[in-house]
């Protein structure tokens, strides 16, 4: 068995603006089952951070428990990491983000970690609009405990064992929109062409950027009758609209034909160009976003792409009016300005 990847990379592979090769963003070799969708998401995460030239030491990766939550070992090997208690990744992310708002926070969770044990944490971190990227690697089953149905498994879907799921499923994207997330997207691990720009846009977005990625479990939930299998997802995928992501540094040369594409500027100056579908312009309207998700479900379709986006979002720090300097950088001098300041403050409240 290969416990390590060979260190050689393609001699012609490119370097990013920081002069790093993609290798600087890799982690250890995956120990997940061969063919796991999670590995493709990992690869897209590596590519996104590499291509956006984000310094690895400026990234914090956090996870809970589960197959998905193992994956931070396989990417960004030179970033900060925290593997937390089951379902408690959002709390740890909140704490870390409070202490140092200057880092990029990437939470990785699974359908069990988010939709079952961590549901409460998920709901609250979304409504607080914490500035982070929250990726759910969603395979509709508990892969680490032999494939029991999870809370995101669709009713009627049959996994390898053949019994149809009897409960209603939780649509994490719909829930995230309802809870107030301003960037909500859904991807498919087997479609990197869509996933990669979506992750980049999520990284550029300020506030909670929630990305649910359908990621087939090849071992327990890849029967053609499962709605989370490679073949079913490929046959039933429907995109809200195709889009390009133009990072902030890049000079914008595209001429927008307003009849067919809409530019959506993001907080950091990057731009998402949506190639509009004919029927409607959904994604910046919460009501339409939820309606189109529901409509797709009726048609047995899986709606993918950026589902909802509100670019001018206020994150947790804005709402709480925290200082511009990260708390971690404040010294005793700033934190305990002395009796005089305290007295003056008390006086102002009288």
């Amino acid at each position: 068995m290969s416990y390590v990847r060979p260190t050689f990379r393609h001699p012609d592979s490119q370097k990013n603006k920081l002069g790093y090769s993609r290798k600087a963003y890799e982690g250890a070799i995956s120990t997940l089952c061969a063919g796991c969708g999670h590995d493709s998401i990992v690869s897209s995460i590596i590519t996104a951070f590499f291509e956006m030239s984000i310094e690895p030491h400026k990234v914090v990766k956090l996870s809970g428990i589960g197959c998905s939550s193992k994956t931070p070992a396989y990417f960004l090997g030179r970033s900060h990491g925290f593997n937390s208690v089951h379902g408690r990744m959002p709390s740890v992310a909140t704490g870390a983000n409070m202490a140092n708002k200057d880092l990029v926070y990437l939470g990785v969770s699974g359908d069990g970690d988010t939709a079952s044990i961590g549901m409460g944490q998920f709901a609250h971190v979304v409504r607080r609009n914490l500035n982070m990227i929250y990726v759910v690697m969603n395979n509709g089953c508990y892969g680490l405990t032999k494939g029991q149905d999870s809370a995101t498994a669709d009713k009627g879907s049959k996994s390898r064992k053949g019994a149809p799921v009897s409960f209603e499923s939780i649509d994490l994207c719909e829930l995230a929109i309802l809870m107030g997330a301003d960037f909500v997207g859904r991807g498919f691990s087997g479609d990197k062409k869509q996933l990669l720009p979506m992750l980049k846009a999520a990284i550029s977005h300020k506030g909670m950027a929630f990305v649910d990625v359908i990621s087939p479990c090849v071992t327990f939930n890849n029967a053609p009758t499962s709605t989370k299998s490679y073949s079913w997802v490929r046959d039933h995928m429907e995109a809200t609209s195709t889009f390009d992501f133009i990072p902030m540094q890049q000079e914008i040369l595209t001429e927008y034909d307003h009849g067919s594409s809409i530019p959506v500027p993001l907080h950091d100056g990057s731009i998402i160009t949506l190639h509009k579908r004919e029927d409607k312009e959904v994604i910046t309207n919460k009501k339409d976003a939820i309606a189109s998700l529901e409509e797709a479900k009726v048609k047995d379709h899986i709606l993918t792409g950026i589902l909802y986006l509100k670019p001018d979002s206020e994150d947790f720090h804005d709402i709480n009016q925290t200082t511009d300097t990260p708390l971690s950088q404040l010294t005793e001098k700033e934190l305990c300005p002395g009796n005089e300041v305290l007295q003056a403050f008390n006086e102002s409240l009288r």
């Binding site: 290969s2 050689f8 995956s30 061969a34 063919g35 590995d39 087997g190 071992t219």
Partner: protein, 593 residues
């Protein structure tokens, strides 16, 4: 692009870069793995079957395999294939029991071999095993040809040479006619041989007959290859203190290094062109520099300077290379003062020419404008159907391994001729495929890719080796460093075989491949496809492996260029759509049907 036809044995053959580059197509990775497992005798025998002279070639082969080595493209230095061959030869046990013997019962066919060099010896070996009777003619007292007369003993000890040549001569069915110069091909042809093989080499060293002073200084001016032969046969015992060697090929390197051992203290190599364009192998240039021999470039000879009937030096014109649009080089004089280099003797190593004084017009052998015989490039048959050529005498000066390859082909042709069959209906190579899967994540081959740099080979102390021309300079790898070197081999013969019918397009292989070789993309013409890969495939000498259309309408495209053959794609494939299959390609031999 059309799907790749992996059933065609040539496709995967080309992926094994070293073996493909080797004229004799020795299965390199196969024997390197045996060395890794200390099966030196088995490794030696694989070589012996394919290239006949493993001990000799393990020292002095031109190594076309090494610049082809994939490791050279992945990091900066190729696997030391040649020196590993020597490890097999040095550490082998007695192989005499393993060597085949010629059958007692002869097949009644008689073949004459003119010249006793590597080409003829290869023909002799291949055909004697089939029951042919062979008459080997050479004007020297022992067989070996240029391997014996031109390669100095400090690179190739006589013992190694004799061992491997003698085992062929003693195989049975070979009659030696040494010290016998064949002065007339016609005489041989009249002698009722079923076929004649000419392996007489390119025996004439180029001279500078028209350069002023050449005639007067004749005593001090020698043609390199003749001088080297004279050293070997003890006709020359020493050389002057100051020696100039003209020429930039391997013969020049052998001349200058031999001169250093024959009393030359101030030995210089002078080349007409820039040093970067010298024909000599890189390692031979390094060895010469190591022995304090400077190489002076961009100097064309003007004159031998003779004073009082003695050669005192040479004058040269300084030139500079100018390249036209086609990249063709012209050496243009700089107009500076001539450069005068003092010397006592000059060795001319400026090329070799073919010469066939023994072939009379009446023998009906047709020659081309270059003075070389008209040959069928595949069968090596000349205009006289039962006369074949090989080695340097076929297409001009080459090297030992080319001569061996010619020998094999000529032996096949002669055998077909004697059996009355069509010479172009040649036997196919023998190809075997063997799956390497052992367990879930275990392989039969050592798939781990090491990071060790190319191992340095130990050398004899310089002062000691310069004192005695018989002391071999390179000591060869010790077993341990040999194993480290062997482990650097990337096992390019363990092929990645893709079955599109099993693939679920999960991308696991794409994500796991360390060198980004694998792509799932929309099909296009080759030119466009090469550009669109994850890392564009700019090395056009390397193939793209393209699958049939897959269920999403895309195709799998693998750029073979820098694949590490690490097996990670196959390990990470959930459906065994990727398989690691060992592909052993053995060239056809005479007698194969």
């Amino acid at each position: 692009m059309k799907p790749t036809d992996i059933k065609n044995p040539e496709y995967f053959h080309k992926v094994v870069d070293c073996q493909y580059a080797c004229p004799a197509h020795t299965p390199v990775p196969e024997y390197i793995r045996l060395i890794l497992h200390e099966q030196f005798t088995e490794a030696y025998m694989i070589n012996w079957v394919s290239n006949v002279f493993p001990g000799i070639l393990g020292r002095v082969c031109d190594r076309p395999c090494e610049p082809a080595c994939r490791r050279d493209r992945v990091e900066d230095k190729p696997v030391a294939i040649c020196r590993l061959k020597r490890v097999a030869a040095d550490n082998r046990e007695d192989v005499s029991a393993l060597l085949p013997k010629a059958p007692e019962k002869k097949n009644g066919k008689k073949i004459a071999l003119i010249g006793g060099g590597p080409a003829s010896l290869t023909v002799a070996r291949d055909l004697s095993l089939l029951g042919y009777e062979l008459d080997l003619f050479d004007d020297q007292p022992r067989a070996g040809g240029f391997i014996r007369s031109q390669i100095p003993s400090f690179r190739l000890p006589e013992k190694v040479l004799n061992e491997e040549i003698d085992c062929i001569l003693e195989m049975g069915g070979i009659t030696r006619h040494f010290n016998t110069y064949v002065s007339s091909l016609k005489e041989i042809l009249d002698k009722d041989y079923d076929a004649v093989f000419v392996g007489s080499g390119a025996p004439r060293g180029r001279d500078l007959p028209n350069l002023p002073g050449r005639e007067e200084g004749d005593k001090f001016i020698h043609v390199g290859i003749d001088w080297l032969a004279a050293v070997v046969f003890d006709h020359v015992e020493k050389v002057g203190k100051r020696v100039l060697v003209l020429g930039g090929g391997n013969t020049a390197m052998d001349c200058c290094r031999t001169a250093r051992r024959m009393g030359g203290e101030d030995v210089k190599v002078v080349v007409r062109s820039p040093r970067s364009e010298m024909k000599a192998s890189e390692w031979e240039i390094e060895d010469a520099l190591h022995e304090d021999i400077p190489i002076l470039e961009n100097l064309t000879p003007l004159e031998f300077i003779i004073e009082d009937d003695r050669l005192t030096g040479m004058s040269f014109e300084k030139v500079t290379p100018v390249y036209d649009e086609q990249g063709k080089r012209k050496l243009v004089p700089t107009g500076e003062e001539p450069v005068i280099l003092e010397c006592d003797e000059v060795l001319l190593a400026i090329g070799q020419q073919n010469a066939f004084p023994f072939i009379e017009p009446e023998s009906n052998i047709a020659f081309n404008d270059y003075g070389l015989p008209e040959l069928d490039p595949v069968t090596l048959q000349s205009s006289v159907p039962n006369v074949f050529f090989g080695g340097d005498s076929a297409f001009g000066p080459g090297n030992i391994i080319i001569a061996v390859a010619h020998g094999h082909e000529a032996a096949i042709s002669i055998d077909l001729l004697c059996r009355g069959e069509d010479l172009h209906n040649r036997p196919e190579p023998e190809v075997t495929l063997a799956g390497q899967k052992l367990g879930f994540h275990d392989w039969l081959y050592d798939s781990h890719v090491t990071e060790d740099a190319r191992q340095l080979v130990p050398m004899v102390d310089k002062a000691k080796s310069l004192r005695d021309r018989l002391v071999e300079v390179e000591l060869g790898f010790a077993q341990q460093s040999g194993k480290v070197e062997a482990k650097r081999c990337l096992n390019c013969d363990v092929q990645t075989v893709f079955d599109g019918g099993l693939c679920i397009e999960c991308d696991a292989c794409v994500d796991a491949c360390p060198t980004s070789c694998i792509n799932f993309i929309d099909n296009a013409e080759e030119e466009e496809l090469r550009q669109r890969l994850l890392v564009p495939a700019t090395n056009k000498e390397q193939s793209l492996y393209v699958s049939d259309i897959l269920s999403t309408g895309r195709v799998m495209v693998k750029d073979e260029d820098v694949c590490l053959h690490c097996g990670i794609c196959a390990e990470r494939c959930p459906t065994a759509a990727w398989e690691m299959v060992k592909y052993v390609y053995k060239s056809a031999k005479a007698g194969d049907r």
